[in-house]
């Protein structure tokens, strides 16, 4: 188990990590999610030993890592853009860590073949890394990181530079590989869909400290605060007066769960709306786009406030149509 306590890193005036605490349990897939500049990459580099933190400490199974050099930590790191060695073949790249571990040539050849098999590139040993497609490079980088059987695998935006279709397929494959091999994994990304699709647990990073952590469901259902809600793309946020399970806000008047009362800020998740004949909110559809499984609509209320929503059940209202909306109390989250 990895334990990081009170990590702080500053670059000049800028604080990259601000007293960050983090644990990764054995066999767990932890996704660190955050916008660019939130300190994700710095966190990986500190754990990897490539960056010395200003303060704080790291330990593995209770033993400190603070004096352990990067090459002795036994962690695997898959770099953004992969950093494949251009002067070595695919096989030479994958074999690198095994050679450093002093493995015999026969064992290395065996292991390289095995790992290339896992990532779906059997027989690629003698290819030059310059001629690989983006997806193939990604797989070689993964194979290289996996080959020495690291006690923890870290990935920095591993599918970030690939096109969308390939990205979704690879995220599925990665999840399968992590679970099947029981790998302890720390996965860094700015893409929430990737994180939700892949992680057992998510840590959301903001300005170098943890804004929220929990399972993907917990984070999605209960974003902790306005910043997290907006980061997740939930923009229906307003002040409301809550009395006896009914919230009164600029959006309108609707029922919520729980026994909160008084003045609060709340968010309505975009999946919380249904089109019906009777409901608390009326408005006009001002934007409508098809997103595959669902439609995303923008509805302007009578008061001129814009609401963002996802509608997946037909009939989906068309542009300019006046609609009456119902709100699922489960989709309303009190933010403070």
């Amino acid at each position: 188990m990895l334990e990081a306590t009170n990590l702080t890193v500053t670059f000049g005036e800028k604080t990259a990590l601000d007293g960050l605490d983090l644990t990764v349990a054995d066999g767990e897939v932890l996704a660190v999610l955050g916008p660019s500049g939130s300190g994700k990459t710095t966190l990986l580099r500190v754990i990897a030993g490539l960056q010395v933190p200003g303060s704080g400490s790291l330990s593995w199974d209770g033993q400190t890592l603070d004096q352990v050099a990067a090459h002795q930590r036994g962690f695997g790191l898959m770099f953004q853009d992969y950093a494949l060695f251009p002067h070595r073949t695919v096989g030479g790249n994958v074999a690198f860590g095994l050679r450093m571990a002093g493995m015999s040539d026969d064992r290395i050849a065996e292991r390289v073949a095995e790992v290339l098999d896992w990532v779906g590139l059997p027989g690629y040993q003698d290819r030059s890394v310059g001629n690989l497609s983006g997806g193939e490079q990604q797989r070689v980088a993964l194979a290289r990181a996996l080959a020495p059987a690291p006690r923890m695998l870290m990935l920095d935006e591993p599918v970030g530079s690939l096109d969308r279709g390939l990205r979704e397929r690879l995220v599925g494959e990665l999840r399968h590989l992590f679970v099947e091999r029981g790998l302890t994994t720390l996965y860094v990304t700015h893409d929430q869909e990737e994180a939700f699709g892949l992680a057992d647990r998510i840590v959301i990073l903001r300005n170098g400290s943890v804004a929220q952590e929990g399972t993907p469901e917990q984070v999605w259902r209960n974003p902790a605060g306005e910043w997290v809600a907006r980061f997740l793309g939930f923009d229906n946020i307003a002040d409301a007066k809550i009395v006896a399970g009914v919230a009164e806000s600029s959006f309108g008047k609707f029922g919520i769960n729980g026994d909160v009362t008084g003045s609060h800020r709340l968010v309505i998740r975009p999946d919380g709306f249904t089109v019906s004949t009777a409901g608390p909110i009326q408005g006009t559809v001002v934007a409508r786009s098809f997103r595959g499984g669902h439609y995303r609509l923008q509805v302007a209320t009578r008061a001129g406030i814009l609401l963002e929503m996802e509608i997946d059940e037909p009939p989906v209202p068309v542009m300019g149509e006046t609609v009456t909306l119902n709100i699922d109390p489960d989709a309303v989250v009190v933010l403070d």
């Binding site: 090459h71 036994g74 770099f79 020495p148």
Partner: protein, 546 residues
């Protein structure tokens, strides 16, 4: 139709001019003299014979010079690579206050006149030097001076590639269990090999043809082929043997150049290069700070000490200090004319050489940059030859060949022409990359907006390459100021340049002469350093090859 033909004919005429001027210049002032050397070495006894070559082969002193030339060049190259590698790393990977000044400052030794370097080391490692050791006429003085001279070549060439090398490749190796040394050996070193090869071949070439340093520091104990050519010509008047030596040296240099270009073609590893800004960062932690400031301290001391001692010795008067040596420069002395006149001569020659190198070099660069194809590729090689040929060979060639059809041997213009020959490759190498970087799209935009071809060049290309031309001009000026090898053959006794005057002063005994030599060297160093620091201000990023 007529409308369309005119620019085409203009284009052809323009191209012909671009080919003709540099070709005639190089043909008459380089190929013809080299042919003259070949002739004199093969037709020594009135008819065709190899007697000059067999004399070289039979004389132990000449065989010794050839052997010494090779092994000192190998030793100098290896030593320079090892000594300068840490600085290449520090300059590539770290940012620190005053970096661009430091970078400019380390380039100064590279363009310092060989005579000045020789004199500086004579002052530092001579019997009255501050180190208290006398390394005169030892191999160490020569090797150290060569490292001093070529330090910047390695820092700039290897550091230049290192600065663009993705640091994550090294980090990836670390994450896979490689320690620092192993990472360097297995990842950085193989990726840097093209630059190391390039730097090594430049250093090898310069030290292989080393003249001034060996002449001054080697005394009679050590001589390179260059020194031997000069000695055979000026002391023994044995032109056939000098010619044979020059031919052998030319063959050796060509072999190195060919081997090197073959090696570069094979080695080209495609790699992702990153912008320097992403890579360089301030040192973190005590270990890195120690490395950076340690390396900078060593560099400052190693490069600064000889020059400081030089300045110090120029101010030495008996047991005290004063400007006596400088004041005496106006008096007639061992240089035949008052040494101060040499300053005027040098300034005049350098200005003329700069003008010639800039005109011929820019035309050649335009040909190479704008007309791709077999002709311009061959032209590129032809232009580089004078750089590899060695200055002594050029001067010697002028001496043996330029008596006919017109006797130019005593014409004052010969000195700047020789200097321009040495400087042209630098001008071309500085301008071509910049010219090629001007995107055709820009020219097309100019043309579509109504500018005829010459106007496009004047309004779009010229402003962009103007800075490169300034840099080339500065190089040409500095090279001419310090040129010694070729000048030693062709300078008229009554019109010595600064390096010639310094050498003459050094070859006479006496404290007054030595003081004057130191004073003139200090002035020459100041002039050269000033022109190089001026260049640095005009340099566009890291573009250009020097």
């Amino acid at each position: 139709m007529i409308e369309r033909q005119q620019p085409n004919r203009g284009r052809r005429v323009g191209r012909l001019t671009l080919i003709a001027v540099p070709l005639v210049f190089l043909g008459y002032f380089f190929v013809y003299p080299v042919a003259g050397i070949l002739g004199i070495s093969l037709f020594s006894d009135g008819g065709f014979s190899f007697s000059a070559f067999s004399e070289v082969a039979s004389k132990a002193s000449l065989r010794g010079a050839i052997w010494f030339t090779i092994w000192q060049a190998v030793a100098s190259t290896l030593l320079t690579l090892v000594v300068a590698m840490p600085a290449a790393y520090v300059f590539a990977r770290f940012s620190f206050p005053g970096k661009s000044f430091f970078r400019a400052a380390i380039t100064v030794p590279f363009v310092l006149p060989t005579v000045v370097v020789g004199v500086a080391y004579l002052a530092l490692l001579g019997p009255n030097g501050p180190l208290g050791v006398d390394l005169r006429q030892t191999i160490w003085a020569i090797l150290i001076a060569h490292v001093f001279y070529n330090y910047a070549v390695v820092v700039r060439t290897v550091g230049g590639l290192w600065a663009h090398l993705d640091p994550r490749l090294e980090e990836a190796a670390r994450m896979l269990g490689a320690g620092r040394w192993r990472t360097f050996r297995e990842v950085s070193l193989p990726l840097l090999l093209p630059a190391i090869g390039a730097a090594a071949s430049i250093v090898f070439l310069f030290t292989f043809t080393s003249f001034g340093v060996v002449l001054i520091l080697g005394g009679f104990s050590y001589s390179t082929i260059e020194v031997e050519i000069w000695r055979q010509t000026t002391a023994f008047l044995n032109l056939p043997v000098a010619g044979a030596l020059a031919v052998l040296q030319l063959v050796g240099i060509s072999a190195i150049l060919v081997a090197y270009s073959r090696y570069q073609e094979r080695r080209a590893v495609e790699q992702q290069l990153r912008p320097v800004i992403e890579v360089a960062r301030p040192p973190r932690g005590r270990r890195e700070s120690g490395l950076v400031w340690g390396v900078l301290g060593f560099t400052g001391l190693f490069l600064g000490a000889p020059l400081a001692v030089l300045v110090g010795r120029s101010l030495r008067v008996g047991d005290g200090y004063g400007f006596d040596a400088y004041r005496s420069l106006g008096e007639a002395s061992a240089t035949l004319v008052p040494p101060v006149e040499a300053i005027g001569n040098s300034a005049l020659f350098a200005t003329a050489a700069m003008a010639i190198a800039l005109i011929v070099g820019t035309m050649a660069a335009a040909l190479i940059a704008y007309y791709r194809g077999a002709v311009s590729r061959w032209f590129d090689v032809l232009l580089m030859l004078p750089l590899g040929t060695s200055a002594v060979t050029i001067g010697f060639g002028f001496l043996v060949a330029l008596d006919a059809p017109i006797d130019l041997r005593t014409a004052p213009i010969l000195v700047p022409i020789a200097h321009a020959l040495v400087a042209i490759p630098f001008v071309v190498r500085t301008e071509v990359p910049v010219m090629q970087s001007v995107r055709n799209r820009l020219r097309e935009a100019g043309a579509v907006l109504g500018a005829p071809p010459m106007r496009v060049w004047r309004e779009i290309d010229l402003p962009l390459i103007f800075r490169a031309m300034l840099v080339g001009a500065g190089f040409a000026f500095a090279i001419s100021l310090g040129e010694f090898g070729a000048t030693s053959f062709i300078a008229r006794p009554d019109a010595p340049t600064l390096p010639i005057a310094i050498y003459r002063l050094l070859s006479r005994a006496g404290a007054a002469n030595f003081g004057q030599a130191m004073a003139l060297s200090t002035l020459l160093m100041g002039l050269t350093a000033a022109s190089i620091l001026a260049i640095e201000r005009f340099r566009i990023g890291e573009m250009g090859e020097f």
